[in-house]
Every structure is written in structure tokens, then in C-alpha cells.
């Protein structure tokens, strides 16, 4: 057991991952609360009023981080899907399963806050433009993944079917991201680009980044917590689960 180099496969065993995740959760939750607290303060009290959109633009501070998370989480799930298919580790499927509801939640929030931003600025809650439509498809992919994995009784087969669905759906992510470039959309272009930098005031940008980091920490905490429950549900019959301290209480 005592290898000099780190054996990453060791952590892919639920029995070693479970206590490790338990130790990490409070830290990530604390980071999330602090960052989102700072982010909210900056959103409402420091960031100046926009010259075109007035106070209404402040929706950006939840809308953009939520939209980013909706795409990031899907990519991470697709990564775990590949790991699961290639290495056949039990934990990979549990990780995608643990992330899916949070991803669906952020996708919903991106659409919801987008609607509440679109109404005052564009005069409509919804348009079938490329960005909005592809984000809606992402929401259906999350729901489809959750439903598919839940509908197949054999866990192994359910995991594999889910992983394949995730990989097929990954094509949607670049479509969402580049939709504002490829098509003429009502949705505005990217505020931040790798090549051109940011087109917004630095305080607005920093606020958005802090919120996004807070959402990241939140996602990690929540996903680890859900993964722990999934591990317990799946490995109920194994000896190590029965010897856990929290069960004896």
C-alpha cells in the first residue's frame, strides 16, 4: 500500500474516496460562502450602475457564472464518462451522477435569469435564438442523463448508457459557446474572450469572476456530498460501509 509515487487509482476506490471527500466538503463549502458573500457585496454595493442598462444589468453577476457552470459541469461529467468507459472504475460513474443535478440546476438558473434579463432589455422572455436554444438543449441533456441512468436497473449498464449519452451530447457545448459568433443572435457576444481580453469594466469583471469561483467551490462541495450518498447507496452491502462510525450512532 505504501507506494513512493502517488497511486491515483487508489482514490478511485469508493472506500478511500469516501472519507477523503468527507474531509474536503466543509472546506469547499466555507470557501463558497466567503466568495459568494464577497461577490454579492460587490454586485450590489461596489459595482457601479451601468450607463445603458441601469441597475438591471446586475443580473449578470448570477447569470454569467451560472451559465459558465452549466457548461463546465457538463464537460467534467463527460471527462468522467471517458474515464469510466476506458478504465472501468466504479467511482467515475458515481461522479457524473453526483454532478448531474447541480449541472441541471445551473442550466435552469442560466435560462431563468436570462429570461428575467431578456424581458426588460429585449422586451421578451424568450426567443428561439441559437444561444438560448442550445442552452435549453443542454438542460434536456442533463434531464435525459438523469432519467436514463435512473431508468436502467442494472447499475453497470445504466452507467455505460449514461456515459455514452454524455459523450454524444458533448458536441452541444462548443455550439453553445460559439453560437453568438456563428449565428446572428439577439444574445450579446462573449464579454470575456481569451484572445481579446475583456470588454467590460474591471470591477464588473472581477465581481463576476469571484462569483464564478464561489459557484465552483459550491459545486465541488455539493458534488462530493452527493457522491458520498451515492457510494453508501450502492455499496450498502460491503463490509467497509457497515464498519463506518456514523452508522453505529
Amino acid at each position: 500500500m505504501n507506494n513512493a509515487s502517488i497511486n491515483w487509482f487508489k482514490y478511485s476506490s469508493p472506500a478511500t474516496f469516501y472519507p477523503l471527500a468527507g474531509r474536503l466538503i466543509p472546506w469547499f463549502m466555507a470557501i463558497a460562502v466567503i466568495l459568494i458573500g464577497i461577490g454579492l457585496y460587490l454586485s450590489f454595493f461596489v459595482a457601479p450602475t451601468d450607463y445603458k442598462q441601469g441597475e438591471g444589468y446586475r443580473i449578470i453577476f448570477v447569470h454569467v457564472p451560472a451559465a459558465w457552470m452549466s457548461m463546465f459541469i457538463y464537460l467534467i461529467m463527460a471527462f468522467w464518462a471517458v474515464m469510466g468507459l476506458v478504465f472501468n472504475t466504479r467511482l467515475s460513474a458515481m461522479m457524473s451522477q453526483a454532478l448531474a443535478p447541480t449541472g441541471a440546476m445551473f442550466t435552469f438558473l442560466a435560462l431563468w435569469t436570462g429570461a428575467f434579463w431578456g424581458k426588460p432589455m429585449w422586451g421578451t422572455w424568450w426567443v428561439w435564438d441559437a444561444r438560448l436554444t442550445s442552452e435549453l438543449i443542454l438542460f434536456f441533456l442533463y434531464i435525459g442523463f438523469i432519467a436514463l441512468q435512473g431508468a436502467i436497473d442494472d447499475t453497470r449498464r445504466g452507467d455505460r448508457a449514461g456515459a455514452i449519452l454524455l459523450l454524444v451530447g458533448v458536441v452541444n457545448i462548443p455550439i453553445i459557446y460559439f453560437s453568438v459568433k456563428w449565428w446572428n443572435t439577439l444574445h450579446q457576444g462573449a464579454s470575456i474572450s481569451v484572445t481579446q481580453g475583456s470588454s467590460m469594466a474591471s470591477i464588473m469583471l472581477n465581481t463576476m469572476l469571484i462569483m464564478a469561483l464561489g459557484f465552483w467551490a459550491y459545486t465541488i462541495a455539493v458534488a462530493l456530498s452527493r457522491a458520498r450518498s451515492i457510494i453508501l447507496e450502492r455499496e450498502m452491502d460491503s463490509q467497509w460501509v457497515r464498519e463506518l462510525q456514523e452508522i453505529r450512532q
Binding site: 441597475e55 443580473i59 428575467f116 452527493r226 453505529r248
Partner: protein, 57 residues
């Protein structure tokens, strides 16, 4: 800036607070739901162990 002005959000109150409100509700509800899920599975395992030890004795 007074409180009424703050909550009015320059006339955008409905849109700003619906966005931040929904985000807050969901991001508070999710950890609470996860806590219930964990409690339930721990209780289920404890019951399972109890039943099996009773059967053995």
C-alpha cells in the same frame, strides 16, 4: 442610498430580485436536500444491519 431605493433597483426590482432570489433559493435548498438524503441512507443501512443481526441470532 436608502433602503427603498436599494430594493427598487432603479425600476428593475422584479427582474433583479427574481434572478438573485431563484438562485439563492436553489443554492440553499440543494445542500439541505443532500443532508436529508444522507440521513436517510445512513438510517437505511443501520436498519439493514439490525435486521441481519436479528436473523443470525
Amino acid at each position: 442610498m436608502n433602503l427603498v431605493e436599494f430594493f427598487d433597483m432603479g425600476g428593475y426590482a422584479l427582474y433583479v430580485w427574481s434572478s438573485f432570489g431563484a438562485t439563492a433559493i436553489l443554492m440553499i435548498a440543494e445542500p439541505l436536500l443532500l443532508r436529508t438524503r444522507r440521513r436517510n441512507v445512513l438510517r437505511r443501512i443501520a436498519r439493514l444491519i439490525r435486521i441481519q443481526t436479528e436473523e443470525q441470532s
